[in-house]
């Protein structure tokens, strides 16, 4: 049987079909260079620093009753047999009968984050491996009501949730935002575990992500919560994500809003009191709950709003005493947030619109998906940026589409991530409308839609 190995780069165009490489299983055990028809590639690649842990995430079939230990034993055996890999890798089919029965995918992940977007050669026999086995919850979010209130005050997700799976990999940022957040979380948990006196060294378990709309702040929060749950699955049995609906915490009764915040947090406190569960609290658009109290003093805000801010701040101080909680907040308008809240945030991360490089990766992933599903045919491989760089951006038949895409990516700097992800759709809807498109045609359409986006934006700004 054949093994399927999905990898994002370093492969010559003709062996790749639809973004994955089909190779006979016996090759997998040996030389990974054979996989890409490039000999001696391993020596050219930077080595993985052995001090770091390699995280391996194993997605177990939702009907499987196999024990975690048994699965991780089999996975370790498989990886040792495999020997080495390059960069992030996802295995989806296995020789091992047990694994193919119980496991959907084995992913070696975040090695590229760790080494700064570079693909490194990882030797499984030498590196420290951490295998996390998880099953997805397919139930979706549940509405959590407060007592005596009719509407839902929060959405409650059990993690790892099927909806959030794959979100982390598809969020592309330039700087090391993702790595910073992961490291922040692991330090938080290390300090809590070491029982460091919070009166001497204090940390607030609050992360604030801010930036223009559509840059993936909320998605990043959700994906981070999911990631932490998977990585820490041996420490916490459950992961939970509580998404607070800020607006529902305001009451029509004067002075009731502060009490609603209290009720909400006492509900969360109940969830947190279980030491086996990791609770991530997501407060989206936090400025609505923590509007600057200064403006209220000027008389433009009712004093009820002040009470909400006060209640939230004190409740955060209470809930941060628990070792298993993390508060994630997002905002578009940082000026409107109360200074006391900003001060409580340990990480205040700005998330801006993606750069040309990130846009290039986003477009590549979009096009790969379209090729996989057969909308763009025949499928052609788009080279990653570092490969183009190695070829000194020389225009030949293989690199032509990739270079054209790079040009489009440079032209689209300034568009938000949300806009970028819908551009391939719009390009097809506006300019193509056929079920099979060739890659050059699609790229031309993509370029046209990018120009159109900027025109639309200009005309919108003219109106005002």
């Amino acid at each position: 049987m054949a093994g399927v190995l999905e990898n994002n780069g370093y492969s010559s165009g003709n062996t790749r079909v639809n973004g994955s490489v089909h190779i006979p299983a016996q090759n997998m055990a040996g030389n990974i260079g054979a996989l890409y028809n490039i000999q001696g590639l391993e020596e050219a690649l930077p080595e993985w620093e052995l001090g770091y842990t390699v995280y391996v995430e194993v997605l177990q079939h939702s009907n499987s009753t196999a024990k975690t230990e048994t699965i991780s034993e089999h996975v370790l055996h498989l990886l040792h047999k495999l020997g080495t890999t390059v960069g992030d890798t996802k295995l989806t089919s296995f020789d091992d009968h047990f694994l193919s029965q119980h496991v959907i995918s084995v992913a070696v992940c975040d090695t590229e984050l760790q080494s700064g977007h570079k693909k490194t050669l990882i030797d499984f026999t030498k590196s420290k491996l951490k295998v996390s086995v998880f099953q997805l919850n397919e139930e979706g979010p549940a509405a959590e009501e407060l007592e005596d209130e009719e509407f839902a005050a929060a959405n409650h997700w059990l993690l790892p949730a099927a909806e959030i799976e794959g979100m982390w990999e598809n969020l592309i940022f330039d700087s090391s935002i993702k790595l910073n957040l992961l490291n922040y979380a692991s330090t938080t948990l290390l300090f809590s575990d070491a029982k460091i006196d919070p009166n001497i060294i204090s940390w607030n378990r609050v992360v604030l992500l801010h930036g223009p709309p559509g840059t993936g702040k909320t998605s990043l929060c959700k994906a981070l919560a999911q990631k932490l749950c998977i990585r820490l699955s041996d420490r916490y049995k459950y992961g939970q994500l509580v998404e607070i609906n800020s607006h529902s915490l305001f009451s029509r009764w004067f002075s009731e809003s502060g009490k609603l915040v209290m009720k909400m947090f006492s509900k969360i406190q109940e969830l947190v009191s279980d030491p086996d569960s990791l609770v991530c609290i997501l407060i989206d658009e936090v400025e609505s709950l923590t509007s600057a109290r200064k403006s209220a003093l000027a008389g433009t805000e009712p004093s009820d709003a002040i009470r909400v801010v006060n209640a939230l701040l004190t409740q955060i101080d209470i809930i941060k005493r628990n070792p298993n909680v993390l508060i994630l907040a997002t905002s578009n308008i940082t000026e409107a947030i109360d200074l006391a809240f900003i001060d409580r945030a340990d990480i205040k991360q700005y998330i801006g619109p993606p750069s040309a490089h990130a846009i290039f990766i986003i477009f590549t992933s979009c096009l790969t998906e379209l090729m996989k599903k057969g909308v763009i045919s025949p499928s052609q491989h788009i080279l990653p940026l570092d490969a183009l760089e190695a070829m000194k951006f020389k225009e030949v038949a293989v690199t032509a589409p990739s270079l054209f895409l790079l040009k489009i990516a440079k032209e689209s700097v300034g568009l938000s991530g949300r806009t970028l992800r819908k551009l391939p759709f719009l390009a097809h809807a506006m300019f193509l409308q056929t079920s099979h498109v060739s890659l050059p045609d699609f790229l031309t359409a993509l370029q046209q839609i990018v120009i159109k986006q900027f025109e639309e934006r200009e005309s919108l700004s003219k109106d005002t």
């Binding site: 009907n63 024990k67 459950y238």
Partner: protein
């Protein structure tokens, strides 16, 4: 919160005789139907609703309240699915403990019902389905274990069953990490009866959860729904 740490009430039901797996699954089904109605998750007793909405001759006429009807039909269908799958789980393996969770998620339930089958080493007199279901219903109604507690809002009902690891469920999803929640109001329904000795007694048990819950539904369309029971 007030509900936390509530030890809850217990309802002991004793059946003087031997029950088969089929009878057990029928008992569980009937308790579920009773709970759905008693905790006001459905507007009428389950079988009454079934009679009203699922009969083929009712389905065609009158186009009023189609959304409610659609939801109700959906609820009935999901419940039927659940009952069939509970039955097949009982046929396949040995289940001695079932938990019914009323609440938005399995870790934050409002009410928790433990249905347990205890072996009381009775004589091998086999009981009929009718007898068992009737005595269970009688005990539940007379002892009314949660009679005076406040009703939960319309919410989700999830069932988990403690079954051996080897049983390879197809419909139920194994949840190796499931832990009986401490939150909410707890109620034990202990049924002591004669049982066949467990087929696989020593093996490790894990919790199996239903893939989707049954969401409560309020009757918003017919104002005199409650009295229909007595009129018809």
């Amino acid at each position: 919160m007030a509900t936390k740490g509530d030890t809850g009430s217990t309802c002991n039901i004793s059946l003087n005789g031997f029950v088969t797996q089929t009878i057990k699954s029928r008992i569980v089904t009937e308790i579920l139907k009773y709970l759905l109605y008693h905790r006001e998750q459905i507007p009428l007793p389950f079988d009454q609703l079934y009679f009203q909405y699922e009969r083929p001759e009712v389905q065609s006429n009158d186009n009023k309240h189609t959304l409610f009807k659609k939801r109700m039909t959906q609820l009935l269908k999901e419940s039927q699915d659940l009952f069939v799958n509970i039955d097949s789980l009982f046929q396949d393996t040995d289940v001695s403990h079932i938990i019914v969770l009323l609440g938005s998620t399995v870790i934050s339930p409002k009410e928790v019902y433990h249905i347990r089958f205890l072996n009381n080493e009775q004589t091998a007199q086999t009981l009929s389905v009718k007898h068992c279901v009737r005595s269970v219903a009688r005990s539940l109604i007379t002892s009314s274990p949660l009679g005076d507690s406040p009703l939960p809002p319309l919410t989700n009902m999830v069932i988990t069953a403690h079954a051996p690891r080897s049983c390879n469920p197809t419909w139920f999803k194994p949840k190796a990490n499931f832990k009986v929640p401490k939150m909410g109001r707890h109620c034990n329904i202990d049924i002591s009866c004669g049982m066949m000795h467990s087929r696989v007694s020593s093996e490790e048990h894990i919790w199996m959860q239903t893939p989707s819950g049954i969401k409560g539904l309020k009757d918003t369309v017919s104002p005199k729904a409650a009295s229909d029971l007595w009129c018809s």
